[in-house]
Amino acid sequence: MTSYALVDSWTMTRRELAHWARQPVQVLVALVFPVMMLLMFGYLLGGGRGVEGDYLSYLVPGMLALTMAFGLEGTMIAVTRDLDKGVIDRFRSLPMASGAVLVGRASADMLQSALNLAVMLGAGYALGWRAHGGPGALLAAVGLLLLLRFAMLWVGIHLAMVAGKPEMVQAVQILVWPVGFLSNAFATPQSMPAWLGAVVEWNPLSATATAVRDLCGDAGATSASWAADHAALLAVAWPLALTAVFFPLAARRFARLDT
């Protein structure tokens, strides 16, 4: 019954918020961790390879995109935990709107990511980073980042249901790191071997990072590759393509968990 879809989705979102209230430290760590990464790469490891000009204006957009991509892990952990406890079975045996469980997951994860972005932008600002493109461009950048996170949401839900057990998620988690680092988040593709640079150029994360750099007026990235020149297009196309593939997969998998 669709009339309950909103009510049930809100109940499921409330459930996630109640989890936050139960685990304030975890929420805090999730918010602070990307900031630590930003500080680490910005100061501890020094300037990025191949970056001309101000490294911070190159790094901050890269870290924002990386944070969105790594949101995948949080989604996977939450989904597998529910599956493992059998609580999903109970949800499915209730007369509730069938999509509400997924909507609750999506709302909570998107909210968490929006908070993540706010904290990261604040941290970047405190360190001296500035969005030079104006408020409109900054909003567009945030939109692109959340779009990437939205795609990662469905990838995460699907992978978690395929993996099943929390132990399997750890294996996937480990793979998330190389995929995250095989991007232009920290260093330009030009500084890498040609074949690696090509892979990096086409990483969805790189597209979002480059598009955000463009929107925020970073001059550090100079590139003549097609992917870099059309970063904004790719930053929209990649997440949409991923969502188009993984949303139906995840929804179908959820509807047929039993088989």
Binding site: R22, G86, V87, R90, S93, L94
Partner: protein
């Protein structure tokens, strides 16, 4: 409410090549407790998952609370409660939060969900658990909360899939008490179990399931009669005489069950009194000293082993259940 709460006709379900249900038939009258007894892999959980709309059958006609589980899953879901093998609770939330959340998902509305949560906490003795998250509950408490959750809407039919597996004796007794009190309220209960004692205590009727079909169905007494009625038990003083004593019993040697650890023989008998007198006399004549001789009805254990023809595994289960 109809007279029949559950009808299963020719239910089939395959996982790959493996037939989990192979033409299972079952009818459960309203307001009764139906036990479903079987070894691991007999198809008990598959049956419960199909009945509770979590799983689609490959074939068969299955109705629960007057509605078809495939065509009208939602109607069925409005009328059932499910208690799965693992407590299906949100472990990070406390008991009240769980009950309120599931109440809202049953569309009770916020206020009503709160009131109902209070009632159930009270009824299951969980009022003083406060804000403690479920992950810090004991096994018995968790199971009681699980049961409370499945009763939020006073379901017509309640499915309990091995409700006491993994609980200590105290937790098991708690759950048994709760289940018995439910039936007074008119709820139909279908309970799967590996514990024969549990089926014997709780169920009005018991269906023995093996290989995905019902191999026997009846009241516990009817089932006990299936194995051939009464048995005579003899406990000897000296285990070394078990063999000699077994030969004296008035039945074929193969029908005598010998339990060396307890120094006990057990054999089916037809004429109760004559058999008892005969055994006493024969033992006396042979100079074998008995500690105890008794006539008794067969236990469901024996029925179960008899029906499933799986002695070794059966003994193993009995030990676990003991």
């Amino acid at each position: 409410m109809a007279d029949t709460a559950i009808t299963v006709e020719g239910a089939q379900k395959k996982y790959g090549d493996k037939k989990a249900l192979d033409g299972l038939d079952l009818t459960v009258a309203s307001g009764t407790v139906q036990g479903v007894l079987g070894p691991n892999g007999a198809g008990k959980t598959t049956l419960v998952r199909i009945l509770s709309t979590l799983l689609r059958p490959d074939a068969g006609r299955i109705r629960v609370a007057g509605h078809d589980v495939v065509a009208h899953a939602r109607e069925v879901r409005l009328r059932i409660g499910l208690l799965g093998q693992h407590a299906a609770l949100d472990e990070e939330l406390d008991g009240r939060q769980n009950l309120e959340m599931f109440g809202r998902l049953h569309h009770l509305g916020a206020r009503h969900a709160r009131v109902r949560a209070d009632e159930l906490l009270e009824r299951f003795g969980l009022t003083d658990t406060g804000r403690k998250p479920v992950q810090r509950y004991s096994g018995g408490m968790r199971r009681r909360l699980d049961l409370a959750t499945s009763l939020i809407t006073r379901p017509e039919v309640l499915f309990l899939d091995e409700p006491t597996t993994g609980l200590d004796p105290r937790g098991r007794a708690e759950v048994w008490t709760s289940v018995r009190s439910l039936v007074g309220g008119g709820t139909t209960v279908l309970l799967t179990t590996q514990y024969l004692e549990e089926a014997d205590r709780l169920a009005d009727r018991v269906a023995v399931v093996d290989g995905g079909r019902v191999v026997a169905d009846g009241t516990p007494d009817e089932l006990k009669r299936l194995t051939g009625g009464d048995r005579v038990d003899v406990v000897l003083r000296d285990a070394r005489q078990l063999g000699a004593a077994a030969a004296l019993l008035p039945v074929p040697r193969g029908d005598v069950a010998v339990d060396a650890d307890r120094r006990r023989l057990s054999a089916p008998v037809t004429d109760r009194m004559a058999a008892l007198a005969g055994v006493v006399r024969a033992l006396e004549d042979a100079g074998i000293e008995a500690e105890d001789i008794a006539l008794r009805r067969p236990t469901l254990d024996e029925v179960f082993l008899h029906l499933t023809g799986d002695d070794r595994a059966g003994h193993h289960r009995m030990e676990e259940a003991a």
